[in-house]
Amino acid sequence: MERQIINKRKRVFSLQEKKNPKAVFARRYVNHLVPALSKINMNKPSSQINSKTFEQTVKHEVDMALALSAREFAWSRFLQHKLLSPPHEDPSYSPKILETSICKQDGTEGAEIKKKLEELQKLVPGGEEMNMEEILSEVGSYIVCLELQMIVLKSLVQDNIS
């Protein structure tokens, strides 16, 4: 916990680069994404560039890289599962009912909060299966990993532009 705080406040570069969790994530992510991208590059015929499916494939790989680089968290397992299973429409979409014991003193605010939590459930992969406390814990790690993912993607894009 302290380590995380230190990492947030100032940049810590340890001798043991493998232990720093953000670096570990970044390394795993890149190690997965880049070969996947080059494989996509090689496999597809050149006519498919800029088509919808190509973008989808790339997005798929991007998400997969995220899911694989952050295995410690529950949301990554859900994401992985969702990516691996064939895409299906879920008409019977029923999010797990959040426990109503969010109850603050005013009832109206409780309803608002519940609505917001349901929205959050939809955003976080696997959120439908979590109750309130789990969501809150997963959201933190999800945000951090999203930020790291953005850094890596930006750098990949940037390097290829220049």
Binding site: M1, R27, L136, I143, E147
Partner: protein
């Protein structure tokens, strides 16, 4: 002999008003109630009374040291056979010691309590791994600061125990005369504040709520701009917005990557260099660009959001990357090769 101890304490209690004292006293009373039979068996032995009287007679420092060493032994080994020669009656003896210690004078008491607390923190963090001992010990220890444990423990039971004791540490400052009857033998271990309901459900609920608010505080640190908003709903709003914006940016970037993909030239060693380059240089950029993100957040429904962000971010990136990039690539190779990573601007 027990009565003499009790009387001594009651005398000194009248002069003091320390809540810690009351709690300790209550705890030890409970313990002794449970182990009444053991005590009676042991107390029949003759070596009991002279030792106790000995402790009575010693001054504060010695008592302090005794409790300190007692807790040190706790830390070093569980189930210490304290050198007083008491086997089974170890626990009541501890209770007696700590009680008499806390009975003496104010300064010593607070210092002793502080010492005890710090020791207990360490002791408890070790103990949290051994549940069988936690059960008996949990009633002795009441003041904990175990945020670390609470965050990382995956076991729900221990989690509730830890968070409850943390809750109790927060409420320990307030007196809890009548409310202290909730001590249960299982893991839920929360002190009620004055004037609050003490039945099991409300305690559990309160523990849950405190856990949740702790998590919200952590999220507040994580999400930029959450400090200005108060209340759970507003914070949740901010969190949702932030997650949505991050996801949208990722989508946009992946689209861009898909566009650029054919021109990717990726040699692996270049990549590791560039990865670190990105990691090092983009971190400050990301921090700097966060204000721009937050400014754009109210314009959320706009669909040009993604491109707007990136156009704002790109100049930042360009300016910060261009300057060191030339020297960076030569340096970063060596950086990567050596094991020490120093951040050089």
């Amino acid at each position: 002999m027990l009565e003499s101890l009790v009387s001594l304490e009651s005398m000194s209690l009248s002069s003091m008003d320390v809540s810690v004292l009351e709690r300790l006293k209550w705890l030890q009373q409970q313990q002794q109630q449970q182990q009444q039979q053991q005590q009676q068996q042991v107390l029949s032995s003759t070596n009991a009374s002279p030792e106790l009287l000995q402790f009575h007679g010693t001054n504060n420092d010695e008592l302090l040291q005794n409790t300190f060493s007692h807790f040190q032994m706790l830390r070093s080994g569980f189930g210490p056979n304290y050198s007083m020669g008491f086997g089974p009656s170890h626990e009541p003896m501890d209770g007696c010691i700590s009680r008499t210690n806390s009975c003496q004078m104010d300064q010593a008491d607070t210092v002793g309590v502080m010492l005890k607390n710090s020791e207990e923190n360490i002791a408890f963090s070790l103990k949290s791994k051994r549940k069988s001992e936690v059960k008996t010990r949990a009633e002795e220890k009441t003041e904990k600061k175990i945020k670390v444990e609470a965050e990382t423990e995956s076991n729900m039971k221990v989690k509730s125990n830890l968070s409850n004791t943390e809750a109790s540490s927060e409420t320990s400052k307030q007196t809890s005369k009548g409310a202290s009857e909730i001590q249960k033998l299982d893991y839920i271990h929360v002190r009620a504040r004055r004037g609050q309901a003490t039945d099991r459900h409300s305690l559990a609920e309160r523990a849950r709520r405190e856990k949740i608010s702790k998590k919200m505080k952590y999220l507040q640190d994580l999400v930029p701009g959450c400090n200005k908003v108060t209340g759970r709903a507003g914070m949740l709003d901010e969190i949702i917005n932030y997650v949505q914006s991050l996801q949208r940016q990722v989508e946009f970037l992946s689209m861009k990557l898909a566009v650029l993909n054919p021109e990717l030239e990726l040699a692996m060693e270049d990549l590791s260099v560039k990865q670190f380059q990105a990691y090092f240089t983009n971190l400050p950029v990301l921090v700097a660009s966060k204000p721009s993100l937050m400014v754009d957040a109210p314009l959320f429904p706009l669909d040009q959001q993604g491109s707007l962000d990136l156009s704002v971010i790109n100049p930042n990136q360009a300016t910060s990357i261009e300057a060191p990039s030339a020297s960076w690539e030569t340096q970063s190779q060596s950086l990567y090769n050596t094991s020490s990573l120093g951040f050089q601007y």
